[in-house]
Symmetry: C2
Subunit: 216 residues, 2 copies
């Protein structure tokens, strides 16, 4: 069982690491980080690089494909090398998955046409432009396609998919080992729950007390 | 404001990335990944490397220090270079923090003597051996020392600390941007909630249906 996690310039680290440290604990799985060019790949703010050990041409038959998101998905959505790779590996995958705006890459590759899917709450409209049927659920299954909402939702997706593949006992063991007993200090994790002025501010790409988001 | 995140061989990725993608979003903060030797540092299972851009000697006055954990903390707990660095940067830090068994490194450096602290649930007893007063809370504040429980708890710590530093509005904005509205598929994230046989199995370092844990 091979799990391929796609990296690309300015992806969001937690999108990739949430599933990595849950689903990636599948026993016997080989996890491989892959990018257009092997080597360090910088995250959205530039402060961190994760190493892609393999190039796209070296990973041709993964069982699970995972595409993280980032605040600037447009470049990869128009990158033929990435889109061709997604289509090629999807043809042989057991599961094709994404976190956050990673679903826009799958959609741009034509893989979510007519399918129920989700994305970061600020990008749900974009999914529809590519023929998908966006939903506000946190994790959406449509056949072998599994899409998760923004950033941290990849942990919930990772555990849920682990349960389907390895059974509930194993998934619960990983939940306990990662001590995933969330106690957020606020209840502002979705646009339905957060204060309306805050939602409006973020839709305008501003954070409280400062400039434009995503420019860390 | 500089946030230094320590990397060392076989750390757990999510321990570092949970706080990175929450607390690290602090506006104006410089986040720096630091290790004994700059360059790629492999995570616990070996499938991934994060790049430490700086060596210990290049990061001498961080405002916030974050120490992630891993399944094998013993080596760093006996590494004078790391322990000396922790003591040196702690002398000037505003906050000294850890996730998971990272607290054992702080404790081994003598920084948690007599302090309330936490760690991964399987390692709470070890904390007491180093003079700390272990508690089962998910995030523990004792003055400027903030310790979080296992792996995923670093997200809760990151948002809570962000609130204390930048205010509740900003922290809630980051919670909404990271869509941290957890919906775990199981309720097995703590030893109190998980099935007792599963807790016993993990305490014996076994996972359901396979061998020893932490050997991914």
């Amino acid at each position: 069982m091979q799990i391929a996690i796609l990296l690309y310039d300015r992806f969001t680290a937690l999108d990739a690491i949430g599933p990595f440290d849950t689903l990636g604990r599948l026993s016997g799985a080989e996890v491989v980080f892959v990018s257009e060019r092997p080597g360090p790949v910088r995250t959205d703010g530039g402060a961190l690089a994760l190493v892609a050990d393999k190039g796209l041409d070296e990973v041709t038959r993964p069982d699970i494909v995972l595409v993280p998101g980032g605040p600037h998905p447009e470049r990869e959505m128009a990158n033929p090398a990435v889109l061709d790779w997604l289509r090629a590996v999807d043809a042989g995958s057991a599961w094709t998955t994404s976190v956050c705006t990673g679903s826009l890459l799958l959609a741009a590759a034509g893989l979510l046409d007519g399918r129920r899917a989700t994305s970061h709450w600020m990008y749900l409209d974009r999914l529809a432009e590519f023929g998908a049927a966006p939903t506000g659920e946190r994790v959406v299954y449509d056949g072998k396609y599994v899409t998760a909402a923004g950033v941290s939702s990849g942990i919930d997706m990772g555990l849920g998919l682990l349960g389907r593949i390895a059974g509930d006992d194993f998934a619960q063991a990983v939940q306990l080992m990662t001590e995933y007993d969330p106690q957020p200090p606020y209840d502002a994790g979705s646009p339905e729950k957060a204060p309306a002025p805050l939602v409006a501010m973020l839709r305008g790409h501003h954070l409280p007390g400062e400039g434009v988001t995503g420019s860390r």
